[in-house]
């Protein structure tokens, strides 16, 4: 491929053998992306939920009120959140190779994605939980419920509708990250778009990938909306 670019003689081949491209490239890439996004969402979804719930419950006047912990978590989240993902990918390189064993490939990408998504999810979880009616929590306390019970059986269910929408928003962000991860050797749709599309001047392939990503995002949003509506009963 570098030959094509270097020689500059070959004009972008805007033709694609779909019978070959779809089963050999596109479908495995879709699976890779779905795999990366799912694993990231499970890991970052849980870690983010824990950090977000802690951000919320350690606030002044809340059930786990703890100023030092709250300040620390806020600083941590604010430190990681503004770093553009593409730079975070590179910056995390040494840590990634320590934890995953390599800086390249799908698993290396997942590590960086988990890192970024955890903190993004933490903020979204916190923001959605802030809107819980404090009176409901007070009622649960008045009934003698423990803090953990309040967190899991009152706070999270009460915020579930907005939480689902928040997570949906983030899955889409993670799909975006997974595409970027293709740039540093992660697999999936991002890699196909980059290597087979962009670098070979094959716009058709790039657009095919874009189309697949759009369809995925639409599907995710649709499922998120349906679930949230079910939970909110509207």
């Amino acid at each position: 491929m570098s030959l094509n670019v270097a020689s500059g003689k070959l004009v972008a081949a805007n033709t694609v053998d779909w019978n070959e491209f779809i089963p050999d490239k596109l479908v495995p890439a879709i699976f890779d992306t779905v795999y990366m996004v799912s694993v990231t969402m499970v890991i970052a979804g849980l870690l983010g939920l824990v950090i977000g719930a802690l951000l919320y419950t350690t606030r002044q006047g809340n059930i786990l009120q703890n100023r030092p912990v709250n300040i620390f978590l806020n600083l941590l989240v604010n430190f990681v959140r503004p770093i553009p993902f593409i730079i975070l990918l590179a910056a995390l390189g040494p840590l990634t190779s320590m934890v995953v064993g390599t800086r390249l490939g799908v698993n290396a990408a997942i590590f960086a994605m988990c890192f970024a998504a955890t903190f993004a999810i933490a903020r979204i979880v916190e923001q959605n939980m802030v809107s819980i009616d404090p009176g409901v929590i007070e009622a649960a306390r008045a009934m003698g419920a423990s803090k953990l019970r309040i967190l899991f059986t009152v706070m999270i269910p009460e915020a579930l509708g907005p939480l689902i929408l928040g997570y949906t928003f983030l899955i889409i962000g993670v799909v975006d990250m997974s595409a970027m991860a293709g740039y540093v050797g992660g697999g999936g749709l991002g890699k196909v778009a980059l290597v087979d599309g962009y670098q070979r001047f094959n716009d058709l392939i790039t657009w095919a990938v874009v189309l697949v990503i759009i369809v995925m995002v639409q599907l995710i949003q649709l499922i998120g909306n349906v679930l949230a509506r079910k939970v909110l009963r509207r």
Partner: protein, 352 residues
């Protein structure tokens, strides 16, 4: 139960004992004393009202009773168990014996009505079959037997408060705290909910503490009342005694919301303009037959009278209030009549 095994009468008669309790909120360098050296006792089986204007410290005081706030000073016990100075884990247990209902109902929107009532039973560790039976029993008790599967946002305010009451009573507590439980409701629904609280007290024998700023709430259900102002209890006693003979300005202001008080200077001027006779205001209390006797002999003295202003109310089956009378006759007879009235009730000359 043998006499020997019953606890000391003091311990069994008192549900809530509050002794010299204060609550100070610290925000930055400012200290705010929300409850200021309050001592009071709520007796087992009574409906005890705490009335006061906004910011008087009523909510803070009830939240001290179930330990949602910790006391800054003093001691507090509920059913003989100490609440003040207890750890959160001990308080959790105590709270299962204390139900609470709220102005904004505070139901969980993510659960059905049945789910809301079931919640405290889960907290208390009841098994599923018992929980289900109890939820249905409570729903019937509050008259919502057919609404188990509804969600709170599908109910009216009055129905929501009924659910709140069912939820608060599910674990059979011996004390129910009601913080402004009818303030968000219209007058008719208020009466329904108050009727339900009365039923809770009568039929289940549950002691009820109601917090309110509405005199009607006190007069329709309470046995005893404490009047709060600026964190202090300024008046306390039997509802009839406090409101037929208020000692403080706050109490008088509350009484005046239900029963017309003796005319103020402006009203007096207006009355004087319209009535040429001698105007006196007399206090009416239950069982005072002296006033009637005095009035029935007025004719013999050449004096007659008109009732020109006043208000009467019944509390706990007893009347109280006051009437302004216009007395017509010659000066000496009038003086004699006023002196005679003064021997049977409190008489005030109406001056502008």
């Amino acid at each position: 139960m043998s006499v020997a095994s019953t606890p000391a009468p003091q311990a069994s008669e008192d549900m809530v004992v509050i002794e010299n309790v204060s609550k100070v909120f610290k925000s930055g360098k400012e200290n705010l004393t929300a409850v200021d050296n309050v001592s009071l006792t709520v007796r087992r089986g009574e409906i005890f009202a705490i009335i006061g204007y906004s910011g008087a410290g009523k909510s803070t005081l009830v939240r001290l009773i179930n330990g949602l706030e910790s006391v800054s000073e003093g001691t507090l016990t509920v059913a003989g168990h100490r609440i003040s100075g207890q750890k959160e884990s001990a308080l959790r247990e105590a709270r299962q014996n204390i139900g609470m209902i709220f102005q904004q109902f505070n139901l969980m929107n993510s659960r059905t009505i049945a789910g809301n009532i079931e919640f405290p039973l889960k907290v208390a560790g009841w098994d599923k079959a018992k929980r289900r039976a109890r939820v249905q029993e409570m729903l019937e008790f509050v008259g919502l037997g057919d609404r188990a599967k509804y969600y709170p946002d599908q109910l009216s305010g009055g129905q929501k408060q009924r659910v709140g009451i069912a939820r608060a009573l599910a674990t059979s507590p011996s004390l129910l705290l009601a913080d402004e439980s009818t303030s968000a409701l219209d007058p008719e629904t208020t009466q329904e909910v108050l009727g339900l609280l009365k039923k809770v007290n009568d039929e289940l024998g549950i002691t009820v503490v109601v917090i309110t700023h509405e005199m009607d709430v006190v007069s329709s259900i309470a046995d005893r009342v404490a009047v709060m102002e600026k964190g202090k209890v300024v008046e306390m006693g039997n509802v009839y005694d406090v409101f037929s003979n208020p000692q403080t300005d706050v109490a008088r202001r509350f009484v005046s919301t239900t029963v017309k008080q003796a005319p103020n200077a402006f009203e007096a001027a207006e009355l004087k303009r319209r009535h040429r006779g001698y105007l006196v205001n007399i206090e009416i209390t239950e069982g005072n037959t002296g006033i009637g006797k005095v009035l029935s002999y007025l004719g013999n003295r050449g004096v007659h009278f008109n009732i020109v202003q006043g208000g009467l109310e019944t509390l706990q089956g007893k009347s109280y209030g006051n009437l302004t009378l216009e007395l017509l006759g010659d000066i000496t007879s009038l003086d004699a009549v006023v002196a005679e009235l003064a021997t049977v009730t409190t008489v005030k000359e109406v001056r502008s």
